[in-house]
């Protein structure tokens, strides 16, 4: 069965460092991989989308890589700030985007 695993439930880092979150998947061939941010009690907020034929995408302090051979995506937040503290979700979908599947998320805490 399809499985999406995010590296750990929680990640604690110091302000100013780079946070790296991992998303691994099995038994799935996604066309798109997305990352979302979710704050407690709120809905997820879309951050970045990367296509299967793209290796890397950047947006401000965010960088996503996508390796379809390893079936893995890495999500980096550079120069992290306490305001970056949240749960980050990885999501995969096929071309029609109607069957998007989410990982359980990694809770990031950035300490001042």
């Amino acid at each position: 069965s399809q499985k999406i695993e995010q590296n750990s439930e929680a990640l604690n880092i110091q302000e100013g460092k780079t946070a790296t979150l991992t998303c691994n998947y099995t038994n799935y061939s996604p066309a798109y991989l997305q990352w979302y941010r979710q704050d407690p009690g709120r809905g997820p907020v879309f951050l970045l989308l990367i296509r299967e034929n793209e290796k890397e995408k950047r947006k401000e302090r965010l960088k996503v890589t996508f390796d379809t051979t390893l079936k893995q995506s890495l999500f980096h937040i550079t120069a992290s700030q306490p305001a970056d503290s949240a749960t980050y979700l990885c999501a995969l979908s096929r071309y029609n985007n109607n069957d998007m599947r989410f990982g359980a998320g990694t809770r990031l805490t950035v300490k001042p």
């Binding site: 999406i4 439930e9 066309a31 798109y32 997305q34 979302y36 009690g41 709120r42 809905g43 997820p44 907020v45 879309f46 951050l47 989308l49 296509r51 979700l89 979908s93 096929r94 071309y95 029609n96 985007n97 109607n98 069957d99 998007m100 599947r101 989410f102 990982g103 359980a104 998320g105």
Partner: protein, 113 residues
Amino acid sequence: EADIYQTPRYLVIGTGKKITLECSQTMGHDKMYWYQQDPGMELHLIHYSYGVNSTEKGDLSSESTVSRIRTEHFPLTLESARPSHTSQYLCASAAPGGDYGYTFGSGTRLTVV
């Protein structure tokens, strides 16, 4: 600024009651979705719609039903609430095509006592 609205934000209701969770979006999106999420767990798709008069069940078996009579409105109904329905319900919409992210509402936290 939210373009997709869910009401109520919180609901505590007794077993056996009928409830409808509202979801409306102002973006003109054809695709809309309902997800269920328990604390610390992944989102599970329970219903989706490609457009007016189109509804499909998702992966997670659900006793809820949905309707899509207008593009902007996608309500979810539980005919007889049970404690096992206690969860957070999230509504989302997406633009046509596959390469757009979803826009989520703030969710409805349902507690059935």
